[in-house]
Symmetry: C2
């Protein structure tokens, strides 16, 4: 933990100055965002044409910027970034609502500045100097325990009630839950690490890290065209994700602005609930399966992600189709069948995960898998019913292990001059 | 560890097919490399123009390819990649020269194919499907213990003699040394992980992983122009690195093709020696120093990397310049002074590190720092004299801790049809 009371360096040189036109991009850039944080895009004008493959031709990666203020927090509907950190904090003994409000104010100030490509408000470590914001997002949420510790129990939504136990869970409580949750994503690893350190420094004496995990996704430009991600099992992952253009997307993912809910929960209007699970993949076991066996477990072809019943990745599953042996072509316990929205009363969540790989575990096998993060307006109509079904009969269960779990209320995006969670903490 | 005896999946679809023109790039691409593996560059022709920041405009990242065959192995003079893995293997009990030769043949076949954007020769895991080679490099070396275990003691060069002890070392033997060493780098994390898994699978029953570490560098395009890297302390790092265009570069970095050395070591002609050290940074302590204190420790300004005596990053240190107080402007124990080649009889090494960050260590502070990797024709004229001086009087020592160490003989690049190390194992 950093000590915010000591003397600390203060880099006075502005990252905006180093970055040339990034500052201007904030004013003139093109807003591309849909429902999430708006993407602001500019080319770094002082980058040389460079040789093919040099940074010059890729400078849009660094310059891409996501807005901090908006209807929803950033990091929910924005494209997956190449690097991510998730971490939870517990309030320090003696810290309450006042200290929490001050911390959220500090975090919001830091997030706003770093996402704009500026230095941190205090004692910038310099790690991100020279780099653009690189699609940096910071996202903040509150865990179930936060409300009791801050005297806000009456304002805790029922949607934050602890998730049910699942029979296949092997959860480590020390890496689960927490009063506060922070998600950081960026397309540059040093930009992401810089934000991580700044968030930890901001915590000061008010909160201490409970757990922290690192993740990654494909780098922009590694594939021929933007496509659905693959996970570390080699599977196309996320095919059935709802899309922001779907007519009911907002209703499924974000808490409605007005409705039947009690007024004391109105601070969550426009917010979302994040379920965060560290899902270890038993890769050595998985890799011993033949390709055909793996495809039976998933219900899709590995190379393209198309259902075993034919078509391409986007083709609907023909769940009733039978093979020559009279059995369903997509097996009754195939992961794709069991997790299909059509099989779950239309339950939908927006999955936005990172892969993780922490080397070799104590058991000699890869400590690797998925930092599963999913977003929904109500976990009881998103994650919970799907996981209940998977827990009972998913052929994939044999090859994965849920090792940690957290559920967080992620408040709406802050308005101008507002900090994240202000409507809860000062409402 | 993977079990190579079980049934394993075999993805028959060619990554080249999925990638469109990457296959053709091998024949028609432009060779850009200097002394190292040649870069082969092509655009992915089927990538859409896309919106700004989309993968379409960045596809050269995926398509960039480094040649496996050549005078030197890849991964020495090639640009730093965004993601890296380093790992060491020990030969299994009972495995000797014959099994080692077969393993190097398998590894070479895998490296040649993956670096060309193809699938692994056997049982590809599918993790890198859809992606181009993304500047993937695989580099292989032999540790001191390899030679006794394979009956090749007479052919072990004196340059592989164990490094001297340094007083500030806090080395973990379980994460040091090893019979065989593999370095993997790529600009896409899944491409790098895919190669890591393939290398582990190839080891089969012949060798087991001794240790494995993950690292990262800045993403191509995150900065306005290609520039020297920064480390997790925020320092510009690598300024004084020798450059391939320097007249004595080859002599300092690569073992000469012919010379006074004994004939039994001719298998290393064109090779290089890698010193690999996990250097933990005590970031919480570092961050408590003021910017001025940090700059005194390093001897350079943090923002630009310029010497405290003025100029820019590339300006020579004015080591004799005194301040108003009569003391050297660059302190006598400043890291930049002590490690300056001019202060070390011209000792030079090519530093090509990755940063690492494995979350929070058991002591509650970041388990983060530098996977220091340096290359030289002779460690006694490269790493050793510089580290001896740093060990005695480097102001930075207080903020870093060498936690592991390895020294490896990295043979020359293989000729067509040859595998890495063949001149040792069959010579």
């Amino acid at each position: 933990m950093t000590d915010s009371t000591g003397s600390t360096p203060d880099i006075e040189i502005s990252r905006r100055r180093l970055l040339g036109t990034v500052g201007a991009a904030g004013a003139t850039g093109l807003a591309l965002g849909a429902t999430g944080g708006a993407l602001v895009q500019s080319a770094l004008s002082d980058s040389p044409a460079g040789s093919p493959g040099s940074a010059g031709s890729l400078a849009s990666l660094g310059a891409t910027r996501v807005a901090f203020h908006g209807e929803h927090q950033a990091g929910i509907t924005d494209p997956l970034q190449a690097k991510g950190h998730v971490l939870a904090f517990d309030l320090a003994p003696g810290a309450g609502r006042k200290e929490a409000a001050a911390l959220l104010r500090r975090w919001s100030d830091t997030a706003r500045r770093l996402m704009a490509g500026e230095t941190a408000p205090t004692a910038d470590s310099g790690i991100a100097l020279d780099a653009g914001p690189s699609s940096l997002t910071l996202t903040f949420g509150f865990g179930h325990s936060f409300f009791d510790r801050t005297g806000l129990t009456a304002r805790r939504p029922a949607a934050l009630d602890p998730l049910p136990d699942f029979s296949s869970d092997r959860l480590d409580p020390q890496r689960s839950n927490g009063d506060l949750w922070v998600q950081i994503g960026a397309d540059d690893a040093l930009v992401a690490f810089h934000a991580l350190r700044a968030v930890q420094k901001d915590a000061g004496e008010a909160a201490r890290v409970r757990w922290q995990m690192n993740g990654f996704n494909r780098s922009p430009g590694a594939t021929a065209s933007p496509m659905t991600a693959r996970n570390l099992m080699g599977q196309v992952d996320g095919t059935a994700n709802p899309r922001p253009k779907d007519p009911d997307f907002d209703k499924r993912i974000f808490v409605p602005g007005a409705g039947p809910g009690p007024a004391e929960h109105s601070w969550m209007a426009g917010g979302s609930y994040a379920v965060v699970r560290r899902i270890r993949m038993l890769l050595d076991d998985w890799d011993k399966q033949s390709l055909a066996q793996q495809e039976q477990v998933i219900g899709r072809t590995k190379a393209t992600g198309a259902p075993l019943t034919g078509g391409d990745e986007k083709t609907a599953l023909a769940l009733d189709k039978l093979g020559p042996d009279g059995k369903p072509v997509i097996p009754s316990n195939a992961h794709a069948r069991i997790s299909a929205p059509a099989q779950n009363g239309g339950a939908a969540m927006l999955r936005r995960p990172f892969s993780y790989h922490d080397g070799i575990g104590p058991d000699g096998t890869p400590d690797a898998g998925l930092l599963f993060i999913c977003w929904q307006a109500d976990p009881l109509r998103g994650f919970v019913p799907v996981q209940r079904k998977l827990d009972r009969g998913d052929a994939l269960s044999e090859f994965i292990r849920h090792e940690s779990s957290g559920l967080y209320a992620v408040p709406p995006g802050p308005g101008d001059g507002e900090y994240v969670g202000q409507r809860l903490l000062e409402g």
